[in-house]
Symmetry: D2
């Protein structure tokens, strides 16, 4: 009740200006602990490539597999090293209001700029419960509300979203329900980032989205930057589509994890329940990456030829 913090994130308007935000991958050591050297290398490549914000421990970054202390450590580490250079947005939401509140308090205390807030997945609640939940977490600092019914099984419908948008700390929506929904929001002054890479070009240029919270930008930050900053470019969009589709051939972050291992930017270590793409699908990915051009892709310009035996799959970490 009486929580207060001298660090409470960046301004909402500052956040609303960011077009390219990456849901950053978390790389692991063979032990399963976070590989901070690999992580920092990824982040530095992101910043060099023009990425403006990072979601730390998102579903892509596997926050769902972290203990909260590991999650907050990673937010703090990122804020400590890269705060000021890139917006640090902690995925401190939860389906438990208590956990979301505590994690969000801690995230701001250690220097994050904003939080990403999901509606209660799995243990779903009512409209009134949603409003109470989001109020509790938005009271703490700038927040992006995340709507992804394909994960949560519960759409945050526009009626509710417009209600949430009245809160002073509401920065905008990460919306995965498509560009028609986004247009409905942007027409009414609600800032949107699409959560769908394959729709982000049109989201920005047709539906009024400020940009994207992207998985693909882990691999091709500069090309994503170009697509979002340099005006409509259907050719670039279509060139990236096969890679994007491949990344989502199986539930994210399975694809990005596989790609990062193939590119050598992360060790081939998986925390269960995630496992790498099978060999045939990996081979297709290698073609897509080469088609995009390896000089535009994260890593050293080479693709590792990994066999199944090269991957470590962990039950514990």
């Amino acid at each position: 009740g009486d929580w207060a913090c001298p660090l409470n994130g960046c301004s909402v308007s500052d956040l609303r200006a960011k077009r390219l935000i990456t849901a950053i991958k978390t790389p692991y050591l063979a032990s399963g602990k976070v590989d901070l050297f690999a992580y920092d290398a990824l982040v530095e490549q992101q910043i060099a490539g023009g990425v403006e914000g990072l979601i730390v421990g998102g579903t892509t970054g596997e926050g769902q597999l972290m203990s909260w202390d590991e999650h907050i450590m990673l937010i703090a580490h990122t804020a400590q090293r890269y705060g000021g250079k890139v917006k640090v947005i902690g995925n401190t939401g939860s389906n438990s209001t208590r956990e979301a509140v505590h994690a969000t308090q801690q995230g701001f205390a250690v220097g994050m700029d904003a939080s990403l807030q999901i509606n209660p997945y799995y243990g779903k609640t009512s409209r009134a419960g949603l409003l109470e939940h989001f109020e509790a977490v938005m009271d703490l600092g700038p927040a992006i509300v995340y709507n992804v019914p394909a994960r949560t099984s519960q759409d945050i419908v526009p009626d509710i979203m417009f209600e949430l948008a009245k809160h002073a700390n509401f920065a905008g929506v990460k919306e995965c329900e498509g560009n028609a929904r986004i247009k409905q929001y942007t027409d009414n002054g609600v800032t949107c980032w699409t959560g769908n890479d394959d729709e982000c070009h049109d989201a920005r240029y047709d539906a009024g989205a400020v940009g994207v919270i992207s998985v693909t930008s882990n691999l091709v930050p500069e090309l994503m930057r170009e697509m979002l900053f340099d005006g409509p470019n259907p050719e670039l969009r279509d060139r990236l589509l096969p890679l994007m589709n491949w990344l989502f051939a199986e539930p994210n972050p399975t694809g990005i994890n596989t790609a990062c291992a193939m590119l050598g930017v992360a060790q081939p270590v998986f925390r269960l329940p995630y496992v790498p793409y099978a060999a045939a699908l990996r081979a297709q990915g290698a073609e897509h990456l080469r088609a995009v051009g390896l000089d535009a892709v994260a890593g050293d310009g080479a693709i590792r030829d990994l066999s199944d035996a090269d991957f470590t799959i962990l039950r514990d970490w």
Copy 2:
């Protein structure tokens, strides 16, 4: 890897014979801690009413809002006091394999009979990932696999379920996808409990389900027992339907929580993101309960007339 436990649950065949299993509600004190006196009273009423198994800390019991130490405490408490009288099934699944494995190990170590295992919700995985995840947890002891796409956003399709069913510790399925799906399983020798109260009569008598894992039985254990044990009874089914529909008017466990408060079997205390039904809906619930007959309903035969101010809604506990 080297975990082993002298306590590893009941036999799979013993579990498969249980028709009436309750996803038991967790009652709270004003502080938000578990009200163990109220909990034990509920459990004793369940046993007296003929309930044969309990899911401890299910979505109904709000395992998603518990710390693991609280969750394991409640499983241990239940096993300690009521083991032997009722099957104690811990909802020790998780979308993190590590957490599911650890919680399931602990649950067996403290005396649970079996675990309930969900597929990774929210942070979904691939078919290969699902198989690895379930193998990790089923290796530890008897398990009921839980399929509820309306919460997980990912259907465990029959192809995968039949694969899981080969495991020696696979006891059966808690299936929420309807009676056609259940019939497909029972025709092929896979034990099923429906997770849908409103379909349980037909699941048992038409689709071959052994029974139900029920929310409604928190309130009317004897009537549920009668419906599942005394042969087809469409009249009873139809008599209970309005109450069942009311319980699911908003996402469970909002309804059961409200009902338990109205009946005085739990204090009117909610952990967020759950909030009580509004007054008008509560009034309808009172009618449904009276229509069923208060002498068949949990509690002392009276319905409390609770105003909104009588409820405590907690952000922290």
Copy 3:
């Protein structure tokens, strides 16, 4: 504040009648997790040997190296399997009042008979603070207060102990300050167990102690039983002294851990900061064990000839 539990331990008078209580060793798997098969074998040997109570997760059992969820799991497991046959006393004290209260609540909820409560070690407090701390934990159920200045750096002086002894849940003292102190208590009606094995014979027969909370009884339960139950026996006392002195040649539980590995009742696995006795000291221990008689010692009557390389020393588990 509002905690209440239908399980709140055994009666204080029942506890006061127990002469032989073992601070049970926690054996580990190679992974560092608790070896529950080895643990149960130890416990069963204890019960067969006439031990009447167990301290679970004491300093001997390395509660200081357990997460609370592991600690409560072990209490619950012990209560579930052996409750009724032996008093299960959880070492749920802590130098943090919050942690002690929470752990003690959980311990009673899962069936422990009583708690062992230490004064705040390391982060020591004042007389008034001590009284508040002990009141908070004794309010929850039967408690044995543990005074061991050689670990806590703070003597619970008689003046304070007599104050604590007024609480209805105060069962007695585990006292390590010697038999003169014990006599001072027993002369005034305060039940005492000595915490010093080498003094236990005289504590019982000269100083009025009811008995001992013992490390040595992990190895020789029947001989300890004989010493405490069959009347004064200086010969037996003196026969056991060399073994006792060896067990405390380095800080406990280093010695008992080494002995259990040598006897094969625990795998040779150590959680740091504990390491095994060096080879020369192990050789002396083997002689002491043989002098006592291997048929009276835990295990299979054989002593393993372990080299340094046979021990696993873990930094993480």
Copy 4:
């Protein structure tokens, strides 16, 4: 095993040059959560007063009452806001090697400059165990070893300390065993900070200590700075002695907590097992503070007249 971190603290030589390090008090809100506004105000006053380093979550800062996630949050917060202005030294030691290693890894990952490492208190270990324990934590980054037998019950004797001093990350000793011990170290090239405020003047000018890790400097940073930087000043030493003695009239941090509440730099909120000094002792403290001069003391130059009822004593937080 495979942990590595791009942030691994400051240089050992940089750390060895710091004379005045404060074991900073942790102030609380009425809820018992950390009062970050009050904390930051204290830290800023420390920096303004010439303090060169902070121990975060020391025994004075009640790290023993924090969850690790709260402890790491506070280290991260301090590093984020004040890193570069003051050395941030996390008290990430523990009597569990696993916990010490994990906390120390996290502390460096979030930007601390060095760790403070205690020997295993309460659950004491052997010489060989001590060496293994300290090696495990010193491998991670710069460390100050803390010897305080009056809390740990185990002296780290010179023989062991000289062994530890060989490690590349060994920065020096916080020694509480007095100036003769300190002289023995400094004569042999081992950097020392005394942990005894009342001896710090002589430690620096007679025994070769670089300075002090101080409790008193929470209250009078500038006077402590003067004493340590401006040459021998027995008059100043003697002027501060009554205040110092008062602060340790009961076990620290009882005194500093009381003083901070009286001075209004922390709310009068105590986490148990700590309780405030009684009224008579508070009155003496007020006299000592006035004798030193309120303009040199933390706060606004006023002393609050607190009655017992003004203090909040928390069992949970």
